[in-house]
Symmetry: C2
Subunit: 338 residues, 2 copies
């Protein structure tokens, strides 16, 4: 089988890999209907995360179950399934508390930029649809696996409610999904912070009511201006830098909430400023499993179309070009077809 391996900064190879097999009785093997490249894949691709050994890439996935281990009871071969990028048993106290991304058995998915993949903890991780979905829904179902689930968690963590004023920091795919999530949750006003025309257009399509092109302190000043000096009730931080985190915190009103899902790189927060700023913070890897059933239903009912975030589709064999396109911001998010 050919699969995607990252060897070093900028060095993505599509090369021969062992065909996945059942290693544990709780595993499933799936044949991917589609995979994609994540914004977080760019951190090691850009050399911002250390690469100590060749990494099998890809953690977003949906497809047909081919084989299951002897202990798997909730999915069976032939079913179409979607799983979270965080693998979880969905039975431990953290899972039952709705934080499957902190499951006691947590693992992170890998190797999904390939035609087949092994999914550990299949019972706790995968959700099957009752029928095989229509082909045109595949991109949206794939999006649920991480990018939509993560944007949704950002909005949930930021306590978005009907009538809320929401600001979204970051116009990558996750930020755009955050806009979609805020809209679904009933936000009255959604301010997308974006300086790229195509991303602005998609943000507006997903429900943004305002676009702010400024960043940093100027961005914060614009949010203050748009909210009569109050600040946003909820802010979704979807980048992960020091600047974006401070921009998010400072864009919220006192007592407002920040949901941060950009994996922090070099972020440090000063206690006294946090204290007197008096904003609520919750972040982390998204517990997508909590949201999977609801999000799958919304997609199958065609109430949301998160798949539009894929603005470039490539054959899996051209995965390296996909990384380049995202790295150079020629594409928001790249769908890969096996």
């Amino acid at each position: 089988m050919l699969g995607t391996v990252l060897y070093g900064p900028g060095d993505v190879r599509f090369e021969e890999r062992p065909t996945p097999t059942i290693l544990k009785p709780t595993d499933a093997i799936i044949r991917l209907s589609a995979s994609c490249i994540c914004g977080s894949d760019l951190w090691p691709y850009r050399g911002l995360n250390e690469i100590t050994e060749p990494m099998a890439m890809g953690h977003e996935y949906c497809g047909i179950v081919e084989e299951v281990g002897s202990e798997v009871t909730s999915v069976r071969p032939g079913q179409f399934v979607i799983g979270s990028f965080c693998l979880s048993d969905n039975t431990c106290p953290h899972c039952r508390f709705g934080f499957q991304s902190s499951c006691r058995q947590r693992e992170f998915m890998s190797g999904a930029q390939a035609p087949r993949a092994r999914v550990p903890l299949a019972d706790g991780t995968l959700v099957a649809t009752s029928d095989l979905p229509a082909d045109d829904l595949i991109p949206s179902l794939l999006a649920v696996s991480d990018v939509l689930g993560t944007g949704w968690y950002a909005a949930d963590a930021a306590d978005v409610k009907p009538g809320s004023t929401v600001a979204v920091v970051g116009d990558g795919a996750v930020g755009l999904m955050g806009v979609l999530a805020a809209k679904q949750m009933g936000a009255a006003r959604i301010i997308a912070m974006s300086r790229h025309k195509t991303r602005q257009a998609l943000a507006l399509e997903y429900g943004a009511t305002d676009i702010v092109t400024e960043r940093g302190d100027e961005g914060v000043a614009r949010i203050q201006e748009l909210t009569q000096g109050v600040g946003a009730d909820s802010v979704l931080e979807c980048v992960g830098t020091q600047e974006s985190m401070l921009q998010a915190i400072n864009s919220a009103r006192p007592g407002g909430s920040i949901g941060y899902v950009g994996v922090p790189h070099g972020v440090a927060l000063e206690g006294e400023r946090l204290f007197f700023g008096q904003r609520r913070l919750l972040g982390g890897p998204a517990p997508v499993r909590r949201f999977l059933p609801e999000l799958i239903d919304l997609v199958l009912a065609r109430k949301i179309n998160p798949g539009k975030v894929f603005d470039l589709e490539l054959p899996l064999a051209e995965v390296a070009e996909g990384y380049r396109a995202m790295d150079e911001r020629r594409a928001i998010k790249v769908l890969l077809r096996p």
Copy 2:
């Protein structure tokens, strides 16, 4: 009038001060029924906050209104009133959102370790009782002004709910009030972290179910042990040091909440650890005004007895001894009688 002034580390003087007068039409002048010394007064007293000029001390107060400015309509001379240590107009968007401690007109009370004090923003800050309260309720009503209101906010910010497992970091007066608050909010289990016998006893009286004497990583390990490796649903951080903050964060379960009310001194939080820890954080100066009516009612109905936290009562003239007693941890909290 004689009042309390801090000149430098350890240098508290009870000396002649100008008698407070109405300076703005929104002011009230009150004759204090009692005042007290706050744990936060010890920061400058110990030289841990810089003292650039002599400071009129005291921000916790209750008493009888003597005079009001021309624009004050909600309280009148002769009434017994309690106010928050944070002065607020209670009408701005932040106040209406329940965060009066971030009021657009926010000021911090000062000069209340004296027989009389000026309370700015009287309409938004003070709450009057319908009758003059019984003398024995004065300590508890005074406690509402800050120490109880702050402990209450810590529990509120930490999202304590009926049935919650709660840990309280810090056995100062605020931590003890946090125990009381968690109990009132229906917590099923309240773990007080304390190594002082008298404070442990009061914590147990206020509703603590468990005492943990270990600190830092050992304290965290004990909390994990007591919660079958899950962690607490809610943690109240009532100290403000780097060690106590990390102890609080690490004692909570993933998805759990930390309410932090100890003013941070030298606290820095690393973004990536916060992210993967996945705990909810909310802190800041307590919006006591939000809780005043409810807490005053609980005291007047004798359902709670926060005044027991005062374990030393002194005449106001002996305020310097009060500071020494608290600094040396001979007293939990000192009540001052004018």
